[in-house]
């Protein structure tokens, strides 16, 4: 499987930079002072966390699933817990409840790690579905019928030769890229739906737009994203 780094050039560059700096810190090479190198290394590692690849995250989930690896869980927690808390706060939920949401979500990640299928979704997508369901449990106290997508995956992968198969990581990276290319008004609608869990009719009310305008923004956005992915992923 090709790395997410193929599309995430930043990850690749930062990995190289990290190795160089590590060598400097260990005294193997010179050019910049050791203290500068230590600081730079710390900065690079923070940046690396922003652009950590899906393969790395998959490895952590797999370690939890197969070995109940608590260190792997701690790494995954450090990557996702702040994002999950931020996700809760974007909805207007207070900091304490958003931390509870992050914690509940990560506990489910630990319990359900064995059900994660890296051929079906990226780790971020899988965790998104967990936090979405937790958010409904915690804040709306209603059931949430789930669609089982396992067959969709089988269909999507049918009849494709293994060597020209795009990995989930690669299509995930392409989707992120495509999202940045969407018109702002379309992104705003998607963000309100996902971050603030507002239905399209509530979004139309809040933005003071006719319902038809919001519907067409959603349809256009999804069509553009679909077209940005290779046909065999659709």
């Amino acid at each position: 499987m090709a790395g997410g780094g193929t599309y995430d050039g930043r990850t690749f560059l930062l990995q190289g930079l990290e190795m160089e700096l590590q060598a400097t810190v260990s005294g193997a090479s010179c050019g910049i002072g050791p203290l500068t190198a230590v600081r730079a290394l710390a900065w690079v590692r923070t940046q690396r966390d922003r652009f950590v690849t899906n393969e790395e995250l998959c490895g952590l989930v797999e370690a939890i699933a197969t070995r109940r690896d608590r260190d792997a869980f701690a790494c995954l927690f450090k990557h996702f817990a702040p994002r999950l808390k931020g996700f809760g706060m974007r909805r207007g939920t207070d900091a304490a409840s958003s931390e509870e949401l992050a914690q509940e979500t990560m506990l489910t990640v630990w319990r359900k790690a064995g059900t994660f299928d890296p051929l079906r979704a990226t780790v971020s997508t899988w965790i998104f579905t967990i936090v979405r369901n937790k958010r409904i449990d915690l804040f709306r106290r209603q059931g949430h019928p789930d669609a089982d997508l396992s067959e969709a995956n089988e269909t999507a992968y049918e009849g494709r030769a293994a060597d020209d198969e795009l990995s989930v990581s690669e299509t995930g990276a392409m989707l992120r890229q495509a999202l940045t290319g969407l018109p702002k008004d379309q992104v705003a609608v998607l963000q309100k739906a996902f971050f603030e869990d507002k239905s399209h009719s509530v979004i139309a009310d809040e933005l003071g737009l006719p319902l038809g305008t919001v519907k067409s923004r959603i349809r256009l956005a999804l069509a553009r994203l679909r077209n940005a992915l290779p046909e065999d992923c659709q």
Partner: protein, 219 residues
């Protein structure tokens, strides 16, 4: 072949988690029956994943990781109730519906809909009270009185089929109707029809026969 699907905005509401339980049940059940909508939901979930990855992180309390690590081995108290179907029974309903039908379709509290010998319904339990979610069994060839809606009506065909005068609906087809629609569905002649019907506000009667069937259409 499925020809009627939930619109993109409904798939987005559903996938983002911004949909009431009853409507989500109809959409999830359709998606379970429809390969093309499963693909769309997978795409929308991937958008959710990409947005989650892009969220500006909020620092969590330093103690949260240790607290969470200490909780890892405690059993999960929030396990969703699993289907309670009688062993060996196969019900003609998609997976998301199973947990709502208890021991099976024949054990539901079916009641004849007033005024109509050919239509029965069984309400499904929902947390929210302002929504009606029911399975309906309609005999082959039966007519449902002309009606319109004050809110939205969502119908998913599970077996058999009907026609609303303009379009035909078969197994897996999903119909959404809002206040602007008045319709008078006719069930196909060759088979009984089983549908999941979700109403998020009371109906408005538009035909003379309506007064007779009022109790049926009342939420």
């Amino acid at each position: 072949m499925i020809t009627h699907h939930p619109a993109a905005e409904l798939l987005l509401d559903f996938t983002a988690g911004a949909m009431s339980e009853g409507v989500a049940l109809a959409v999830a059940s359709h998606v379970a029956m429809c390969g093309s909508c499963r693909g769309d939901v997978a795409l929308i979930e991937a958008v959710g994943g990409a947005l989650l990855e892009s969220v500006e992180g909020e620092a969590v309390a330093a103690s949260l990781l240790d607290q969470t690590l200490a909780m890892l081995d405690t059993p999960d108290a929030s396990v969703a109730p699993s289907p309670r179907l009688e062993p060996g029974s196969a019900e003609p309903v998609p997976e998301p519906l199973l947990r709502y039908i208890g021991r099976g379709l024949s054990h539901l509290a079916w009641r004849r809909v007033a005024g109509m010998a050919t239509v029965e319904e069984a309400r499904l339990p929902m947390v929210a009270k302002n929504i009606k979610v029911a399975l309906m069994r309609l005999k082959a060839g039966s007519l449902v009185p002309k009606h319109s809606h004050r809110g939205n009506e969502f119908t998913l065909v599970l077996a058999g089929g009907f026609s609303d005068g303009v379009e035909k609906y078969g197994p897996g087809d999903f119909a959404a109707r809002d206040t602007s629609h008045t319709h008078k569905p006719v069930v196909d002649d060759d088979a009984d029809c089983l549908c999941l019907v979700v109403l998020d506000a009371p109906l408005r009667l538009s035909g003379a026969v309506g007064t007779i069937v009022n109790p049926f259409l009342r939420i």
